[in-house]
Symmetry: C2
Subunit: 252 residues, 2 copies
DNA sequence: TCAAAAGTGTTTTGTGTACACCCATGC
DNA sequence: GCATGGGTGTACACAAAACACTTTTGA
């Protein structure tokens, strides 16, 4: 934005300071971030929710979010929430969409920037159950506080689109995993069964994995090979969620 | 729609009221929308820009944007800008991403929600040139005020992804058009040449068009057939930009 | 020896891509 | 009759999808 149109439509050059003064009255919209924190456990895609503390939504759960502070970036706010709630620092985070309907929040005008995040549910040291914070099966969720059901649906759809071409589901898994485990993650996210041979072929083509030449243990059946994501794809978390083209472009 | 919540609104419980009070100091982030308004003319993708009126960015152009008012939705703000600047009301609009770095705006903390829009450049009745408002070839743009170059790039990437599967480029064209004109729009957006026969085959497969059984006129060569987008795809503008799956899903 | 899952290939179908010739029109 | 773009089909390569049997392990 540059600009408010002056009444007489003249081009007025002004300093930023002046502009700030003249628009102080607009500075009364709050900005929050809401994080859809996905985890995977027991062949099931989960999301981290907390009991809403607003009476308007008594009994309903909501996503984890907080107001953005004036001196913090949107991503920083999301990482702050993730750290607070899960104790994790290096997580995958992607901005999805901003929800800003006038009446979406009963406390006043709050627009919220939605992020989703993928974490290894086994691996965090979070304070689940404190404040009725806990994991919920995504499929079973029917209502949430605010417009959070819509936000969840939007983020889930984005996740489904992303996993096809981007090596990100690995954030949900431990370091070492079998192809069966990987397939089950995909099936849980897509909520659809996949053909085993075709799945393995497709994953092999992506060339994302290293064969660790180890076998899983303590399974009551033939053990599977263990794989890990190749180092080059273990990128640091995405700081500024980029647009990704649907094909063809370079990889860092 | 309710607007700003009054201080003594009964619906606000202690908790909500307390939350608002305790966070009043956070209510000083401004929210803006910025619109990347695309047009198509002379085989070239254009974007509508205005000379920045901030001294910090003297001489640079910027996107069209404005602060969001406390009582207006994000989309409403975008439509307001579009109406103001182009006179058009029923335009295609899609939310893309929100940019919120602390220091992205010299006037203070302003986070901005980026939208892109597609309009028929011939058809609007806009006040171009007033305030140095005008169309610029997207390819030629090297710098913009603020982070607007990044916003433009992000929106362009989104547009490129969308046009493959969604019948939206038609918003850039007049009602009737030939397949050559359509192909040129795709080439301009994708910035790549396309094979004519393959292009026609692909468009035919989409089944988006009606053959009007008319020919273009006044061309110094064999006239092409005129087509129009099928009525069922002439959807009203997208109010709340949805997530679209990348494949496989049903078509209305 | 049984239960459970691992591992593996071939065929068919559809899609993407490369490529060349004749046709209709205005000038 | 020539310049300009309109209109069309085929062959190949590759990816997606359907589909079944043998192997390995622990209990």
């Amino acid at each position: 934005m540059n600009t408010v149109i002056s009444k007489n439509n003249k081009l007025i050059t002004k300093t930023a300071a002046f502009e700030k003064e003249s628009h102080l009255s607009y500075f009364n919209i709050a900005v929050s971030v809401d994080c859809v924190i996905f985890g995977y456990d027991n062949d099931d895609l989960k999301v981290l929710l907390i009991k809403s503390d607003l009476e308007e939504y008594a009994g309903l759960y909501s996503l984890l979010g907080d107001l953005v502070r004036p001196d913090e970036d949107l991503e920083s706010a999301s990482y702050r929430i993730l750290k607070q709630r899960t104790g994790l620092e290096n997580v995958y985070l992607e901005q999805v969409q901003t929800f800003g309907e006038v009446d979406r929040h009963p406390s006043g005008r709050v627009i919220t920037v939605a992020y989703y995040s993928l974490i290894d549910i086994q691996h965090h040291d979070l304070q689940v159950n404190e404040n009725e914070l806990g994991w919920h099966s995504v499929k079973s969720i029917e209502r949430l506080a605010f417009d959070h059901k819509q936000i969840l649906d939007t983020c889930l759809q984005r996740l489904r689109n992303r996993i096809v071409n981007e090596p990100i589901v690995f954030h949900l898994l431990p370091e070492k995993f079998t192809l069966r485990e990987l397939q089950k993650v995909y099936e849980a996210i897509l909520d659809a069964p996949l053909d085993r041979r075709n799945f393995r072929k497709k994953i092999a083509m992506k060339d994302w994995l290293t064969d660790l030449r180890e076998l899983e243990t303590d399974k009551p059946h033939r053990p599977g090979r263990l794989y890990a994501l190749k180092q080059e794809y273990k990128s640091p978390p995405v700081i500024h969620s980029p647009q990704r083209a649907s094909g063809n472009q370079s990889r860092r």
